[in-house]
């Protein structure tokens, strides 16, 4: 069951011992104008931190998945996904309301799953992959974070199902529900708390949280960057 943003914000503010949210009042609002310390602005900034934290946890744990029907173009193997996969209109708009996809996790043609390969592998499969035509799509790949490659191209339009990791809702209000599992919400608060400590230069409190996050989510990084 989803928790509402207000309760999560309270949990964060209790942890940082600033229940009035005066200490995390932003210095500028979203338009860059200077702000005076106040509770509503402080809570709004706490929710901003929690929104980013929720999205990061979802990115690492792949919890909120959605599907999108991609109708391919004849002869085309490459599809930019920025702006292609639109935001879920039922959720409050985030800062970039048009983008909804954090990461593509699978592509299906009907009930058949396409195989994923690394982008550089495509050249080993076929040096002419960029314009190769076939009867059905067999393989997909990602070029960078926002270009989807389908191989081989088809002469006709085909409707494929793209399974993707969805942007979690921006917690614009205390009543907005969270989207990820309740079990992982403490980690969301952990990240927001780490950002708070950074903002307030509480460096003594940071290494523990950073080490925990680094060991869990950044195993590929060199140890010195893991905290």
């Amino acid at each position: 069951m989803a928790e509402i943003a207000g309760l999560l914000t309270d949990a964060l503010l209790q942890r940082i011992r600033d229940q009035q949210a005066l200490g995390i009042t932003p210095v500028v609002d979203n338009n860059g104008a200077a702000q005076n310390p106040s509770t509503p602005a402080g809570r709004a900034f706490a929710r901003t931190l929690l929104s980013h934290a929720q999205m990061l946890i979802n990115g690492a744990q792949e919890q909120v998945l959605s599907t999108f029907t991609l109708t391919t173009y004849p002869y085309q193997c490459v599809y930019p996904i920025s702006g292609l996969i639109r935001a879920n209109t039922n959720w409050p708009p985030g800062p970039n309301p048009t983008d909804d996809c954090v990461r593509i996790v699978g592509v299906r043609d009907g009930q058949r799953d396409l195989n994923r390969v690394m982008f550089r592998t495509l050249a080993h499969i076929d040096r002419h992959w960029f314009r190769r035509l076939g009867s059905v799509f067999t393989t997909w790949s990602m070029h960078g974070a926002d270009s989807l490659v389908l191989y081989p191209g088809c002469q006709t339009r085909v409707a494929l199902t793209v399974v993707y990791l969805q942007r979690t809702p921006f917690l614009t209000d205390d009543s907005v529900p969270t989207a990820i599992d309740d079990d992982t919400l403490p980690e969301v608060v952990d990240i927001a708390q780490a950002l708070y400590h950074l903002k307030h230069r509480d460096m003594d409190l940071l290494p523990g949280i950073l080490e925990r996050l680094g060991q869990r989510y950044a195993k590929n990084l060199p140890k010195k960057n893991r905290g």
């Binding site: 979203n30 960029f130 960078g144 942007r167």
Partner: protein
């Protein structure tokens, strides 16, 4: 979006970060992220005159693959091209490789160079990489620099900007803060990696 990243930079630094410098550092961070292959693009480049060197579009910071017509070309260094043929610049034929000119990484030549110019870039079906792909053109799969980053990168990029901002010589230099911000930024990027 850029302004949201810069807002986060101001908010997380309690207004200490220099706004003008932060904007420059933001561009530096995007350029650095080219190594990790985040912001990708496919670009078409026309070949106008045979044999001449071709200029890479300015926004490209790293080339991952290049195609002539429908074939993926291999990358050769200048030395490799010279080793195979001293007169490689005057060798006509069907290209199999591309070579970045010694003078600048922004110019490249095809080896051997094609005798025909690419067909006009007219995209009747609105599908330049599909049905409308112009014959004998060059397509480049690359990492580019952009004004706006992807939404999932915003908080991480803000932290990497803070790292640069607080490790440079200034009246607010703070090594511990910079190091912590950098560590967090890299962990967060790893969490949303494609």
């Amino acid at each position: 979006m850029k302004f949201q990243v810069l807002n986060l930079v101001q908010q997380l630094s309690n207004g200490q970060a220099d706004a003008t410098v932060s904007e420059r550092l933001y561009r530096e961070v995007i350029f650095d992220l080219g190594r990790d292959e985040w912001l990708s693009t496919f670009t078409l480049v026309p070949l106008t005159s045979a044999g001449s060197s071709v200029q890479m579009p300015v926004q490209i910071i790293k080339t991952l693959a290049m195609f002539y017509d429908d074939e993926q070309l291999g990358e050769m260094t200048l030395k490799q091209a010279q080793y195979l043929n001293d007169n490689w610049r005057d060798q006509p034929g069907v290209p199999h490789s591309y070579v970045f000119d010694g003078e600048t990484r922004k110019n490249f030549r095809l080896d051997p160079y094609p005798m025909v110019a690419s067909k006009p870039f007219i995209f009747i079906h609105g599908s330049p990489l599909g049905q409308d792909f112009p014959a004998y053109a060059v397509a480049i799969a690359a990492i580019e620099t952009r004004v706006n980053v992807l939404f999932q990168m915003e908080i991480a990029v803000a932290l990497l900007v803070l790292e640069k901002e607080f490790e440079r010589e200034s009246d607010h230099k703070d090594d511990a803060f910079a190091q912590a911000a950098g560590q967090m930024g890299r962990i967060f990027l790893e969490m949303v990696k494609p």
